[in-house]
């Protein structure tokens, strides 16, 4: 029985979380002696689809018909459900991206399957089937036991590594009969945040808070982010005051992220902010106030004036990059 993985694409290319999900599926399949089949919905070239083989997928089911050119949760779910039946799969892996959040619960309801969303590790045992996820907005972990015959896991972005597992991928076009009525949402427009790294997928995030005193001072944050190849983020007060757009707000009521490196500049570290970033692998805090609670969960700290420190950091990053 293959393990299925829904591999999301963007502009015809696999997204980074798709490779994480493929790696996760491959490692799970290895422990249960199964193979991995990827499902791709929407346009993608055969060359791109073959890349699934680099991450351990021996088969790729591709629904590439033009009608799948824009996202449609009901119709996409029906396609995935059809693949589950045709492959007789019992385990389906998603990435907990915005699309994954629209699809995995629908599939779970359709198949009466238990869904663990935002998994941060491989199942600790497969009998019983137990998977760890975060809960209480990253203030805790919970081990979730899934008792249904069909099991669905969506993997938290950046929580699982990507590993090459070269196999040859057999690409198979699929075009199941899907009722016209399931194409029930219409995408009128996609507004891309141009040229920037998506915050949820970024490996490095540079974030600013009220300590930066005003929106006009964000230039140095952006320069440091550019030097590091990082995404930018901000704290809730900063988004609420309109200094930065809401989609940059990380925290309990904003976006939850787990980058490899989170650099917090002028953010004191309120419990709601920490909830959104505490699972970052390495945390750097730069703050003028030595009592800032953020230092308690930081790996590296600098007590000092951001206006002095940050430009020097940018310089040091540029030097490091130019010497390698």
């Amino acid at each position: 029985m293959p393990i299925l993985v829904y591999a999301e694409t963007w502009d015809g290319k696999f997204k980074k979380p798709s490779f994480e999900a493929m790696t996760y599926a491959f490692e799970l399949a290895k422990s249960t002696n199964d193979t991995v089949t990827a499902i791709v919905i929407g346009p993608a070239t055969d060359d791109e689809l073959k890349r699934a083989g680099e991450y351990g997928c021996t088969k790729v089911l591709h629904a590439g018909d033009g009608k799948y050119g824009s996202f449609n949760p009901s119709a996409f779910t029906a396609v995935i459900a059809d693949c589950v039946t045709s492959e007789n799969a019992k385990t389906i892996i998603f990435s907990q991206t915005y699309s994954g959040k629209s699809l995995a619960p629908r599939l779970a309801a359709r198949l009466k399957a238990g869904l663990v969303s935002g998994a941060i590790a491989l199942p600790s045992t497969t009998s019983p089937f137990v998977v760890r996820k975060k809960c209480f907005s990253s203030k805790g972990f919970t081990d979730v036991e899934v008792s249904s015959d069909i099991k669905i896991i969506s993997v938290f972005p950046n929580a699982h590594h990507i590993a090459a597992n070269n196999v040859s991928a057999n690409i198979q076009a699929v075009n199941p009969v899907i009722a016209e009525s399931l194409f029930n949402t219409k995408v009128n427009e996609v507004k891309k945040t141009s040229g920037k790294i998506a915050l949820t997928e970024a490996e490095i995030v540079v974030s600013g808070g009220r300590g930066l005193k005003g929106p006009e001072n964000w230039g140095m944050v952006e320069e440091l982010a550019d030097a590091l190849g990082a995404a930018t983020a901000c704290s809730k007060p900063v988004a609420d005051m309109g200094w930065r757009p809401h989609h940059e707000h990380v925290g309990q009521t904003g976006i939850t992220i787990s980058p490899n490196l989170y650099i917090a500049i002028g953010i004191s570290g309120a419990i709601q902010h920490l909830a959104g970033v505490s699972s970052s692998k390495v945390i750097v805090v730069i703050n003028a106030d030595k009592e800032a609670p953020f230092f308690k969960i930081a790996d590296y700290g600098i007590i000092g004036d951001a206006f002095q420190v940050v430009p020097k950091l940018t310089e040091a990053v540029k030097q490091l990059k130019s010497s390698h």
Binding site: A113, V190, E201, Q252, S278
Partner: protein, 245 residues
């Protein structure tokens, strides 16, 4: 218009989370409970739409009697009536099936909820409700407007936004920006006491998942301090010690 808003009863955002000594449950002692913030945004938008288009707003919660003050708060904010399905909300599929069982007979024009509850962070229930009712769903929406029988929404996607249109009826889950929550006024609080709150027993839906253990994150090791005079040292440490740049 007939609107349903599904709300969760969750610990206040400032709560320090602890678990019972056996690690099997969330320790609720001394915890203040609130309407899940995303659900409150959904409720507010439903009320705004009701005010401009006419209609009713019903709030629904799956929970034991301890959640009733949360439902009363939703009534104080402006909902017309409330339903409590008398069951512990331990599994998303179960909760969604219970909500769908109520909603299928009621012909709501829009079923609202938050994008996720801040306790279990599942991001599952609303989308499952849509599938059970065979309705369209728009998840993680930041805007919602209605013209006639069509709604136009803005939703977040990785690296941008999508503008989506959908015909009523449908299910939506709210993300920040959807609406600015309101503080209930004294009149609202007084009238909430007498608004109808109906309690119904659950159908016995499946519960395919169980949280078998809880844990708080391990304490962090000591923070390594670097002199503000020499920030370059930080970059060296991130390169040679943490090996992340």
């Amino acid at each position: 218009m007939k609107f349903l808003v599904c709300i969760s009863h969750v610990p206040d955002t400032t709560t320090k989370i602890t678990f019972t000594p056996d690690g099997k449950a969330f320790n609720t002692a001394g915890v203040q409970f609130i309407i899940n913030p995303y659900d409150e945004m959904a409720l507010t938008r439903a009320l705004e739409l009701k005010e401009s288009l006419g209609g009713t707003v019903t709030v629904l919660n799956v929970g034991s009697a301890v959640t009733e003050p949360t439902l009363r708060k939703a009534l104080a904010i402006g909902a017309d009536d409330a339903i409590r399905i008398n069951a512990e909300p331990t599994d998303a599929l179960f909760v969604a099936a219970e909500i769908a069982a109520i909603a299928k007979n009621e012909k709501y024009d829009i079923i609202f909820g938050g994008r996720e509850s801040i306790d279990y962070n599942g991001c599952q229930v609303m989308t499952m409700v849509a599938e059970f009712l065979e309705l369209p769903s728009v998840a993680i929406a930041t805007k919602l407007d209605i013209t006639g029988t069509t709604a136009t929404l803005e939703r977040e996607i990785d690296g941008g936004k999508e503008i989506v249109s959908v015909n009523l009826p449908f299910v939506v889950s709210a993300q920040k920006d959807f609406a600015e929550p309101r503080i209930p006024n004294m009149r609202g609080i007084m009238s909430a006491r007498t608004k109808p709150l109906k309690v119904t027993e659950p159908i016995s839906a499946l519960k395919p998942t169980t949280s078998v253990a809880f844990q708080t994150p391990p304490p962090k090791s000591e923070c390594k301090m670097i002199s503000p005079e020499n920030p370059g040292e930080l970059i060296q440490l991130l390169h040679t010690e943490a090996k992340i740049i």
